[in-house]
C-alpha cells in the first residue's frame, strides 16, 4: 500500500482499535486516538521530505480502477498545492485529541469521530478523482455535525444543523456539476472523473462528448459556466465567503475548542483548495470572467469580517470573524492570477491554518478556566498567567500579520500580487490590516492588560498539555515568517503551473 493511502486510511485502522477499547477507559481511548493521529503525522512528514519540489506534476500517485460500471478510479496524488495542507491536517488532527483531553462526555464517540474526520479531510486533499473527492467531501460532514452537535456549546443543535444544511446545499450543487461533467466525457474517455484529465480536456476545449456542451445553453449561460458556478458556490460556502459565511460564527463558537481549531484550521481551507484546484485549475477561461467578482468578494470579506470582528464582545466569535477576514486574502490573491498572488493565497491558507488554530486554542484555555468568553469580563490576566499571555501575544501578532511571522509573508504576497491587477481593491484591503491589528490588540489589552480583574486573581496558569498544543503552532508561525521558502519552495512549481493557465 502506498504511503499516501496509508496516510489517508491509517486513522480508520485507529478507529478499529478505539472501537475495541471499552468506553469506560477514557485515558486509554484518548491515548489511542493520539497515537492513531500521530501515525499520519509522521508519515506526512516523511512525505514532505520525499516530495520533489522541482516539478508541478502529481506525485505519489496511485491510480487503480475502482468502480468499473462508472469507470470511477481510486486516484490519489499530491502536488505542491495539496502537500502543505495534508501535512497541516495531520498536525492539527494530532493536536485535536490532545486539546480535547478534558472532554468527559462520550469520549469514545468523540475520538472515533475525530479519526473519521481526519480520513475524510485527508481524502479530499489527496483525491484526484472527482467522485472520490466528493465522497470524502461528504464523509467529512457527518462527524463534524455530531462533533459540534454533541460536544458543542448551548446553541450547538442550531449551529450543527446550520453547518450541515449549508454545506450540503453547496455540495449537492457540486454533485450536479460533477455528474454533468461526467456525462460530457462519459463516452469519449475511459476515466471520466479524473481531475487532471478533465482539466486538460476543458482547457483544450475537447468536451464534445455530449449535447450538453454543444447546445447546452441554460438560461443564457453556456453550460460549463453553470458547472463552474455550482462548484464555486459549494466551495464559497465552505471558505466561507460573504454572504455565505454566517454558518461560520455559530459553528466555530458552539464547537468545542479542538473542533473549532480543526474547523478554522483545515475545513475552511477545503473551500479555497477547491477554488484553486478546480475553479482555477479546471476552468481557467471561465475563471477569468469571474475574476473581478472574486476579487471584490474577497475584499468585501476582508473588510466585512474585520469590522464584524471588531463589533464582537464574545472572544471566540471575534476570532471566528477574523477567519472570514483572513480567508478573504486567499480569494483576493487567487483572483489576481499573478505569481505573487497565487503564492500568497496558497501560503495564507497554511499560515491561517496555524494562526487561527492557535487563536482558538487560546480562547479555549480562557474558556476552560472562566467558563465564559465575554471579552469585557476578563482583564489583567497578564499578572496571573504570564506564559498564557506570552503565547497569546505571539498568536495575536501572528494573526495580525506581523513581519517576521508567516502571516505577513502571505498577506504581503497577496497584496503585492493583487495590486498590479486591482490597485483600488488592494488599497481598500489594506484597511483590513489596520482594523485586524486594532481589534486583536484591543482584545489583548482588554483581556490581559490593565488592572487585574479581582474575580480571576487565582486564574490558573496555562498547563503543560495546552502549552504542548500551542507551541508547535507558534513555532511554525515564526519559522515560516523567517524562512517562507521552506513552504513556498514546495508550492512554487505547482502554483506557477496554475498561473501559466492564465497566460
Amino acid at each position: 500500500m502506498d504511503i499516501l493511502s496509508l496516510i489517508i486510511f491509517s486513522p480508520l485502522v485507529a478507529m478499529a482499535a478505539v472501537l475495541l477499547i471499552p468506553a469506560g477507559r477514557k485515558d486509554a481511548l484518548r491515548t489511542a486516538c493520539v497515537a492513531g493521529t500521530l501515525v499520519p503525522l509522521l508519515l506526512a512528514s516523511k512525505l514532505w521530505m520525499d516530495f520533489d519540489p522541482t516539478t508541478s506534476d502529481y506525485q505519489f500517485v496511485t491510480q487503480v480502477s475502482w468502480i468499473k460500471s462508472m469507470s470511477i478510479q481510486y486516484f490519489v496524488g499530491i502536488d505542491g498545492l495539496s502537500i502543505p495542507l495534508v501535512w497541516l491536517t495531520t498536525l492539527l488532527m494530532f493536536l485535536a485529541p490532545i486539546a480535547a483531553w478534558r472532554i468527559e462526555k462520550g469520549v469514545k464517540g468523540f475520538m472515533l469521530l475525530v479519526l473519521l474526520l481526519e480520513t475524510g479531510i485527508l481524502g479530499v486533499f489527496c483525491s484526484l478523482d472527482l467522485f472520490l473527492f466528493y465522497v470524502f467531501w461528504e464523509v467529512m460532514l457527518l462527524p463534524m455535525y455530531f462533533l459540534i452537535g454533541i460536544w458543542g456549546g448551548p446553541r450547538r443543535e442550531y449551529a450543527a444543523i446550520k453547518f450541515f444544511l449549508y454545506t450540503l446545499a453547496g455540495s449537492v450543487l457540486m454533485l450536479l456539476g460533477i455528474v454533468a461533467l461526467y456525462l460530457c466525457v462519459r463516452d469519449t474517455v475511459d476515466t471520466p472523473f479524473s481531475i487532471p484529465l478533465l482539466s486538460q480536456m476543458i482547457q483544450a476545449k475537447e468536451l464534445t462528448g455530449s449535447e450538453l456542451i454543444n447546445d447546452g445553453v441554460l438560461f443564457g449561460w453556456p453550460f460549463l459556466k453553470w458547472v463552474f458556478v455550482f462548484f464555486f458556490i459549494a466551495f464559497a460556502i465552505k471558505v466561507p465567503i460573504v454572504p455565505f459565511h454566517t454558518w461560520l460564527p455559530d459553528a466555530h463558537v458552539e464547537a468545542p475548542t479542538a473542533i473549532s481549531m480543526v474547523l478554522a484550521g483545515i475545513l475552511l481551507k477545503l473551500g479555497t483548495y477547491g477554488i484553486l484546484r478546480i475553479n482555477l485549475g479546471m476552468f481557467p477561461d471561465i475563471a477569468i470572467d469571474f475574476a473581478t467578482i472574486g476579487a471584490v468578494i474577497g475584499v468585501v470579506s476582508i473588510l466585512y469580517g474585520a469590522f464584524c470582528a471588531m463589533a464582537q464582545t464574545d472572544f471566540k466569535r471575534l476570532v471566528a470573524y477574523s477567519s472570514v477576514s483572513h480567508m478573504g486574502y486567499v480569494l483576493l490573491g487567487a483572483a489576481a492570477f499573478t505569481s505573487a498572488g497565487l503564492n500568497g493565497a496558497a501560503m495564507q491558507m497554511f499560515t491561517h491554518g496555524t494562526s487561527s488554530a492557535m487563536l482558538f486554542l487560546l480562547v479555549g484555555v480562557a474558556y476552560d478556566r472562566a467558563h465564559h468568553r465575554e471579552i469585557e469580563g476578563f482583564g489583567g490576566l497578564a499578572g496571573v498567567a504570564p506564559y498564557y499571555t506570552g503565547l497569546t501575544t505571539v498568536g495575536f501578532f501572528a494573526a495580525l500579520g506581523l513581519p517576521g511571522m508567516s502571516g505577513f509573508v502571505s498577506e504581503f504576497l497577496v497584496l503585492l500580487g493583487a495590486w498590479e491587477v486591482y490597485p483600488v481593491l488592494t488599497s481598500l484591503a489594506v484597511i483590513g490590516i489596520v482594523v485586524t491589528a486594532a481589534f486583536l490588540l484591543w482584545t489583548l489589552q482588554r483581556v490581559f492588560l490593565g488592572p487585574l480583574n479581582e474575580k480571576y486573581k487565582d486564574f490558573p496558569e496555562i498547563d503543560k498539555r495546552e502549552t504542548f498544543t500551542l507551541v508547535p503552532l507558534g513555532f511554525l508561525c515564526i519559522l515560516l515568517g523567517v524562512a517562507p521558502q521552506l513552504l513556498l519552495g514546495h508550492m512554487g512549481e505547482t502554483l506557477e503551473q496554475i498561473r501559466s493557465l492564465f497566460g
Partner: protein, 497 residues
C-alpha cells in the same frame, strides 16, 4: 405432464415454495397453537430462504415464459428478490416485535407470505388478468395485516382507510383496464401497446379514450406506490398498522407497485409502436408528478413527531424520486438509463428503509418509544442500533459513503442526461430538505437528552439475534454498495426489461 410443462412449473419454484411455506405455517399453527410461535416464524423464514434459493436459479434452465401469463425475466427476478427477501426480514422482526405480543402471530406469518406471493407474481406478469389477480392478492392481505393489532383502535382505522382507498383505486384501475381491453381487444400488455398506438393514430375521439384509460390506470398505480395525490392513505396507514406491516408496505409493497408500473408503462407506452408526442406529454406529466410528490413528501415530513409517520412521508418522497426514473423512461431518450437508475435507487431505498424500520422496531421493542420526544438520548443506550439508524438515515438522505448516495447519483445522472435539468435541481434541493427531518431523528438520538444509560427491556433468543444480525447485514450492504456498487450495477443492468 409434458416436460416443458414441468419446466414451466419449475420456473414457478419460488412461488411454490412460498405457497408450501404458507400451508406449513398454517398447519403448524393448528398443531401447536400459540406455543408454535417460533416454529411458525422459522418455517416462514425457511420458506423465504428456499424461495430465494430457487430464485437464484441454481439450475438456470427455466423458461422465461410461463403459461402465457408470466414473464420470468431478469426484471421479474430482480423485483421478486427484493419483495421476497424483504418479506423474510419483516417476518424476522415481526416474530420479536413487542407491539404484537397480545395478538397471534401465527396467522400473521402466512398472510405475509401470501402478500409476498402476490407481489412476486405481480411483477412477473404481463397479462392484465394475472396482474389483477396478483394485485388483489397483495392488497387484500395488506388490508388485513394493517388491521392486525386487534386491541389497537388505530390499527383497525388504518385497515379501514387502506381498504376503502384501495378498493376505490383498484376499481378505477380495473375500469381503465377495461378501456384498454376495448382499445386492443387483448389483455397482453404488448398487444395493448400496439392497440394504443393505433388508437392514438385514430383521431381525437380515440385519443380521448387512451387518455382516459391512462389516467384511470395511473390512479391505481399512484395508489400502490403512494404518489401524490393518491398517497393520502399512506401516512395514516403507516402510522396505524403494526410496524412490521408498515415496513412491508414501505418496502415490498412499494417495490411491487413500481415493478407493475414499470412493466405496464414499458409494455403499453414504450412498445414497438412508439408514439413520440403522446409519450412526451405523458413523460412531462410523470415528471411533474415526481417533482410534486417528492417535494410534498419531504416538506410535509418536516413537522412530524411520530417516527413511523415521518418515515411514511419519507417513503412518499422516495416514491417521487423513483418516479424520476419513470419520467426519464418516458422522456424521449433513455428508456434504459431511466429504468436502470430506478431499479438501482429502489435497491438502495430498500436496504435503507428496511434497515431504518428494523432499528425503529428494535428501539420500540427495547424502550417502547415511537415518538421523537421519547427518542431523546437513546442513542447512548443502544450505540449499535443508534449508529445503524443514523447510517440508514444518511443513506436515505443520499450522502456518501452509502448506497443511497449512489442511487441519487444514478438518478441525477439519468435525469440530466435526459435533459430534465429542472427535475435534477428539484431533486437535489429536496435532498437538502430531507436532511432536515431525517436528522431530527439523529438529533433526538444523540444531541438531545442526557447521555446516561437507559436499561430498557432486553430480549434474548435466536430471533432477536437474527433481527439484529439482519440490521447489521443491511448496514454493511448499505455501505458496501455505497463504495463498490459494481455488483449491484451489473445485476441491475442485466435485469433491465
Amino acid at each position: 405432464m409434458t416436460p416443458e410443462l414441468m419446466a414451466q412449473i419449475g420456473a414457478l419454484a419460488p412461488e411454490i415454495s412460498l405457497t408450501v411455506a404458507i400451508v406449513l405455517t398454517v398447519i403448524a399453527d393448528l398443531v401447536f397453537g400459540a406455543r408454535g410461535r417460533n416454529l411458525v416464524g422459522a418455517l416462514g423464514v425457511a420458506g423465504v430462504a428456499v424461495a430465494l434459493w430457487h430464485l437464484a436459479d441454481p439450475a438456470g434452465t427455466h423458461p422465461e415464459r410461463v403459461f402465457g401469463l408470466l414473464q420470468f425475466d431478469g426484471f421479474a427476478r430482480f423485483f421478486r428478490a427484493l419483495i421476497i427477501s424483504g418479506t423474510g426480514v419483516v417476518i424476522l422482526h415481526a416474530v420479536v416485535f413487542r407491539g404484537m405480543e397480545n395478538v397471534s402471530r401465527n396467522e400473521f406469518v402466512p398472510m405475509l407470505l401470501g402478500t409476498a406471493l402476490g407481489g412476486s407474481l405481480l411483477v412477473s406478469t404481463d397479462h392484465l388478468l394475472m396482474l389483477l389477480l396478483s394485485l388483489e392478492l397483495l392488497s387484500l392481505n395488506s388490508y388485513l395485516l394493517a388491521g392486525w393489532q386487534r386491541k389497537e383502535r388505530r390499527s383497525s382505522e388504518a385497515a379501514l382507510k387502506y381498504l376503502v382507498y384501495g378498493a376505490l383505486a383498484s376499481a378505477i384501475m380495473v375500469f381503465g383496464f377495461s378501456l384498454f381491453f376495448g382499445l386492443a381487444g387483448d389483455l397482453h400488455l404488448s398487444v395493448i401497446g400496439a392497440g394504443v398506438a393505433e388508437a392514438w393514430a385514430g383521431g381525437d375521439g380515440s385519443r380521448f379514450v387512451v387518455i382516459m384509460a391512462t389516467a384511470l390506470v395511473l390512479v391505481g398505480f399512484g395508489f400502490k406506490i403512494a404518489a401524490f395525490p393518491f398517497h393520502f392513505w399512506a401516512p395514516d396507514v403507516y402510522e396505524g398498522s403494526p410496524t412490521p406491516v408498515t415496513t412491508f408496505l414501505a418496502v415490498s409493497s412499494k417495490a411491487a407497485g413500481f415493478g407493475m408500473l414499470v412493466r405496464f408503462v414499458d409494455g403499453v407506452f414504450l412498445g414497438d409502436a412508439f408514439v413520440g408526442e403522446w409519450m412526451k406529454g405523458l413523460g412531462h406529466v410523470i415528471a411533474v408528478l415526481s417533482a410534486v410528490t417528492m417535494t410534498y413528501g419531504n416538506v410535509t415530513a418536516v413537522l412530524q413527531r411520530n417516527v413511523k409517520r415521518l418515515l411514511a412521508y419519507s417513503s412518499i418522497a422516495h416514491a417521487g424520486y423513483l418516479l424520476m426514473g419513470v419520467a426519464v423512461m418516458t422522456s424521449s431518450v433513455g428508456v434504459d438509463s431511466g429504468l436502470d437508475a430506478l431499479m438501482f435507487y429502489l435497491a438502495t431505498y430498500y436496504l435503507a428503509t428496511l434497515g431504518a424500520f428494523g432499528c425503529v422496531m428494535a428501539i420500540a421493542n427495547r424502550f417502547g418509544a415511537e415518538d421523537l420526544d421519547d427518542y431523546q438520548g437513546l442513542g447512548w443506550s443502544t450505540p449499535f442500533i443508534g449508529a445503524m439508524l443514523v447510517l440508514f438515515l444518511v443513506s436515505l438522505t443520499g450522502l456518501p459513503p452509502t448506497a443511497g448516495f449512489v442511487g441519487k447519483l444514478m438518478l441525477f445522472q439519468a435525469t440530466i442526461d435526459a435533459g430534465l435539468y429542472w427535475l435534477a435541481v428539484v431533486g437535489a434541493l429536496n435532498a437538502v430538505v430531507s436532511l432536515f427531518y431525517y436528522f431530527k431523528i439523529a438529533r433526538a438520538l444523540y444531541l438531545r437528552g442526557d447521555t446516561e444509560f437507559v436499561a430498557g427491556l432486553s430480549s434474548r433468543g435466536i430471533f432477536p439475534f437474527l433481527a439484529h444480525a439482519s440490521v447489521l447485514a443491511l448496514g454493511l450492504a448499505t455501505v458496501w454498495y455505497g463504495l463498490g456498487f459494481d455488483g449491484l450495477a451489473e445485476w441491475v443492468r442485466s435485469s433491465l426489461l
